[in-house]
Amino acid sequence: MSARVLVVAEHDGARLNPSTARCVSCARTLSGAEIAVAVCAASPGAVAAQAARLEGVQRVLALEHPANAHALAAVLAPQIVALAGPFTHLLGPSTTYGKDLMARIAGLLGAPQVSDIMGVESATRFRRPIYAGNAILTVEAAEGVKVVGTVRMASFEAAASRGDAAPIESVAVSAPPPTHTRFVSVSAAGSDRPDLQTASRVISGGRALGSAEGFKILYSLADKLGAAVGASRAAVDAGYAPNEMQVGQTGKIIAPELYVAVGISGAIQHLTGIKDARTIVAINKDGEAPIFEVADFGLVGDLFEIIPQIEKLVG
């Protein structure tokens, strides 16, 4: 039996998040998969049209409802479950949105969930990291059991867009969505810098930056390089950088071409987030810091001297 995959789209109401194109790529590695994308929104038109152009997508299911204006798992999960019948796999991204939602879907279905899929060996066999990426586990679901999965973003390239579009079908939301969960607000710092999760260059700072003020030398260099800025947990906990900048096991897992760790010791939980970076640069005054074990280029020294020097050299 060939796979029939439902990818649950992530979006902000206007634009499809690139995470969805990565889920589609993952779905395409299931041989002969038929792929549909579900878009839940208050007005899904624009997002559905973007999903319809992703390479490999055969149809888009648009679920329009005012309650879908905000991505609340308790509101969305029953709508996806109502569509789940014919599908063998339901995939969403391993982003906070997808992790929150997909597990609720799995719970409603009583289905197993494979979290953070990093490789597909067959329609029933998947590889995923455990222990903060210090071990890779291959799991196998029984034949004929629906599998819910979240897709590890750093493991799949985004599916390309194509010229023609797959058909978009409107699906009515039958049951009234629950009202026990209400959206209040979202505060995003919102910067002009590239998005941490998709940037090809990332510069991250650790506790050594010493203050939010200290981070400015990283922003300045990042802006010269067109890089995104990340942070270690210690830097976020200390209030030097906002939470959405955290990289690691409990922050963002990223795979840039270039990752520069500045004043970061290299705890395993941090390294989990950068394992797939193409090139890692470490700048640390302690030559014994564990970050040097994974760095392609290591420079021992004081960051407050080195970063301005680099900025001058590239500027």
Binding site: A103, V139, E244, Q269
Partner: protein
């Protein structure tokens, strides 16, 4: 009585560098330090603070797992939980099984809130809270970094990819914790002694009417691929030159 149920899991301590067994059947856990999952300590701390503010009367900790887990339940009692429930179970406990067992405890204890960790740092599944909320048909607020109780509802700030999101959820609800929700207290020696006298009840999955169903077979464990050892550069100029040469700048 207003009660908070906290789910805790015994895991390999986060400071341990785990090793995969040479035959690929698992990771080495013999003689390895075990602890309460760090997110669950945060869950317990939050529950204790709510009780200490007078917004709840009792904090109950629960775990589903083998007999060894009682050590972590005792640690939780030493931290300040009032009672512990041990649902004895062997083998692989998948999130769905853990959530089904927790649901039975929820039905029994009728808590105002259930607080779990956002993920267990061994399996890194990050599912149990959401699965429980689904089975219970109640709200979920995952990745909490701030929790305020306001009568019949809770206002929860969540750490999401975009920044901080605030939700309002009717109670009872399931909350899962992120790292910045609080800093768990240290346990003092007298508390460890006191904890020995606190009630710890042992139940079985069978008695709760939950069957263990393993839906995902664990086929193989492998160490992750190692990165090639890199080089040291002597100064900023050499670094920039090397990156330019690789086409990275």
């Amino acid at each position: 009585m207003k009660r908070i149920l906290v789910g805790i899991k015994r895991v390999v301590d986060y400071n341990v560098r785990i090793r995969v067994k040479p035959d690929g059947s698992g990771v080495v856990t013999d003689g390895v330090k075990m602890s309460i999952n760090p997110f669950d300590e945060i869950a317990l701390e939050e529950a204790l603070r709510i009780r200490e503010r007078g917004a709840a009367g009792e904090v109950v900790v629960a775990t589903v797992g083998p007999a060894d887990c009682q050590q972590q339940l005792r640690s939780a009692l030493a931290m300040g939980a009032d009672r512990a429930l041990h649902v004895e179970a062997g083998g692989v406990i998948e999130p769905l099984t853990a959530a089904r067992a927790l649901l039975k405890l929820v039905e029994r204890e009728q808590p105002l809130l259930v607080i779990l960790g956002k993920q267990a740092i061994d399996d890194d599944n990050g599912q149990t809270g959401q699965v429980l909320a689904a089975l219970w048909n109640r709200p979920q607020a995952t990745y909490a970094s701030k929790l305020e109780l306001t009568g019949d509802s809770a206002r929860v700030t969540r750490e999401v990819d975009a920044g901080l999101e605030t939700l309002e959820v009717d109670l009872p609800a399931v909350i899962t914790t992120d790292l910045r929700l609080n800093e768990p207290r240290y346990v003092k020696l007298p508390d460890i002694m006191k904890a020995k006298k606190k009630p710890l009840e042992t139940l079985t999955l069978a008695a709760l009417g939950v069957e263990v169903r393993q839906q995902l077979k664990l086929v193989r464990f492998e160490p992750p691929p190692q990165r090639q050892k890199g080089i040291r550069v002597k100064d900023a100029a050499e670094l920039v030159a090397a990156l330019k040469q690789k086409g990275l700048l």
